[in-house]
């Protein structure tokens, strides 16, 4: 049954087979996508026509690699701009929310806490359309009553940032709260007794203690923003983010340049994820 108990050979073998099939299921789509990024063919499919790096570095005319593909490069750049803003904003507000819910007492705290968790159970599509409807209503209001044209309230960069921020902040709040919960507040008292002021305590004691979780939350927020599709779909303007741009290409059929992008994305996210995991573990033990 478990590793300390005797098991029949057939049981062990069957279980191992199941796990092997599971991992093949898990990785085959990713591996095949990565391999076909190097296929010297106009289509992302077999047969294998030889190794090429054209889908990364090709200058055309028939094979345009990712590093010369303006439309995709632009959408990658847009996604990075969105992800940096979302990551910074959601980590900042998430840290404040963690302090608010862990260290402050106020009326209706439970209601606010529940609201803070709500984005976890609101489908991303619904968040997207609600924010679209609301910002549109606010924009119209300002235009009618005050004669302002609030550009940032129509679909585009800022709306995408707001939309992603609205649910990613829940994740950063929970990540940072989890660590703040374990914080020993006598450390703060000790610092006060030694003459530190509020700001110094916050900066040298509490935030220092929280740093691993803040860094981790920022990394998670970046990745979640970078790959978000559902909420972004309704808020995006003419500057498409990478997932939206890729979606249009996948839907309409495309060259293996998508595989090259996938190769870079999988490599990049794996490195960030593994670094985050190892980094987090090491700091927790220290």
């Amino acid at each position: 049954m478990i590793r300390t108990l005797p098991n029949s050979k057939a049981y062990t073998a069957a279980y191992r087979l199941f796990i092997a099939v599971f991992f093949i299921f898990l990785f085959s789509p990713l591996l095949i996508t990565m391999i076909l990024a190097f296929n010297n063919s106009m289509f992302p499919s077999l047969p294998w026509k030889g190794f090429t790096l054209d889908w990364f570095f090709g200058r055309g005319p028939d094979k345009i690699g990712i590093f010369h593909d303006d439309s995709n490069l632009r959408s990658i750049f847009t996604s990075i701009r969105v992800a940096v803003a979302v990551s910074a904003l959601s980590t900042l507000v998430g840290t404040m929310a963690a302090f608010l819910f862990e260290q402050e007492d106020f009326k209706f705290k439970q209601v606010f806490y529940f609201l803070m968790l709500a984005p976890l159970v609101i489908p991303g599509v619904i968040l997207g359309i609600s924010i679209l409807l609301f910002t549109n209503a606010v924009g119209l209001f300002f235009e009618d009553k005050l004669g302002f044209d609030m550009k940032f309230l129509s679909p585009g960069y800022w709306l995408v940032v707001f939309g992603q921020f609205s649910f990613i902040t829940t994740i950063t709040t929970m990540t940072i709260s989890a660590r703040l919960k374990k914080f020993d507040r006598t450390l703060e008292e000790a610092a006060y007794n030694l003459g530190a002021n509020k700001f110094e305590v916050l900066r040298f004691i509490t935030l220092k203690y929280l740093r691993p979780s803040i860094v981790g939350a920022a990394a998670i927020a970046f990745l979640m923003s970078f790959e978000n599709f559902n909420t972004t779909l309704f808020l995006v303007g003419s500057d498409q983010t990478l997932p939206i741009n890729l979606y249009l290409q996948v839907r309409d059929g495309s060259t293996p340049v998508i595989n090259a992008i996938a190769f870079l994305l999988i490599t990049f996210t794996s490195i960030v994820a593994v670094a985050n995991l190892y980094g987090g573990n090491k700091k927790d033990q220290a």
């Binding site: 199941f18 095949i32 499919s45 968040l127 609301f134 609205s166």
Partner: protein, 289 residues
């Protein structure tokens, strides 16, 4: 610190509270109130807008709408169930059967695809399964198929795709709980002659129920609200409800109709999660931790 100086303005509270309140009201509460309001708003023949039940009436009048809705709900429950059935033995293997040394490695291995965007994962399956895809090519070469078959664009493939894209959200919370299950409990039951099925039913499942609940809620939510997978892998003649919403909002530009659909989807997801929590006697706050 708190309550020690009740009459002074608590600056720290104001600094922490303001951005959080702005976030929750401007981006969560008000937008959803606007969604609710829009769903009850309609424009009459003369272009005047006012209160109406028409948007919801449309949903019940047109069978295609409520059928899509029911189909999406049932498939989401079905997918969540399949995901659970696969995740239990996998998590059990990682936490209790695999050698202690390889546990961390296996966990990371399971986590990596979870970080890759849903679009890339679906794209991978499209490369494998389509008519000119990799699997067809192998099957034809091996002589199992005489001609390639289209394996995409049907409900079975769509269910598999949904299982694939959401599975990790079940595995992660269950691993978290199963790790803390004391092996001695299982050993004791085994020594007392319990069968494997009894151990699963009486010890393992009850113990990991909190993990199962958090996983199920997240998976159900993701599947119900997913757009990419049903759109790219599902059959062309049956829609997912999110596609219906997208069509109303973006293609027909009927925001009132889209709002009504959106609100119905939100209601459905809240209702099913509420019932699931009540049935298993779990608390929402504990479950999402």
């Amino acid at each position: 610190m708190k309550n020690s100086k009740p009459h002074k303005i608590r600056w720290s509270f104001i600094i922490f509270f303001t951005p959080v309140a702005l976030w929750l009201f401007l981006l969560i509460v008000f937008p959803h109130l606007e969604l609710l309001k829009m769903s009850f708003t309609g424009t009459d023949f003369y272009g005047k807008s006012g209160f109406t039940l028409e948007n919801y009436g449309e949903f019940f009048k047109e069978p295609i709408y409520w059928r899509t809705f029911a189909r999406t709900a049932l498939y989401s429950i079905f997918v969540t169930f399949i995901v659970l059935v696969i995740s239990l033995p996998v998590t059990f293997y990682i936490t209790k059967i695999a050698r202690v040394k390889s546990q961390g490695f296996l966990t990371i291995l399971v986590l990596i695809p979870f970080w890759v965007s849903e679009l890339i994962r679906v794209y991978g399956w499209m490369i494998l399964l389509r008519e000119s895809g990799v699997i067809n090519r192998f099957l034809v070469k091996l002589g199992i198929f005489s001609v390639p078959h289209e394996m995409l664009y049907n409900d079975i493939t769509m269910v598999m795709g949904l299982v694939y894209t959401s599975m990790l959200f079940m595995i992660v919370p269950i691993i978290g709980v199963m790790e803390s299950l004391d092996d001695a409990l299982i050993e004791a039951a085994y020594d007392l002659g319990a069968k494997k099925t009894t151990i699963w039913r009486k010890i393992i499942i009850p113990y990991v129920t909190p993990g199962i609940m958090s996983g199920s809620i997240i998976v159900f939510m993701l599947v119900l609200g997913s757009y990419l997978t049903p759109k790219l892998m599902g059959g062309k003649n049956a829609l997912w409800f999110t596609e219906q919403i997208y069509n109303s909002m973006i293609i027909y530009f009927n925001w009132n109709q889209g709002a009504a659909f959106g609100f119905l989807l939100l209601l459905l997801s809240s209702l099913i999660i509420f019932v699931a929590l009540k049935v298993t006697k779990q608390d929402f706050k504990e479950v999402v931790k």
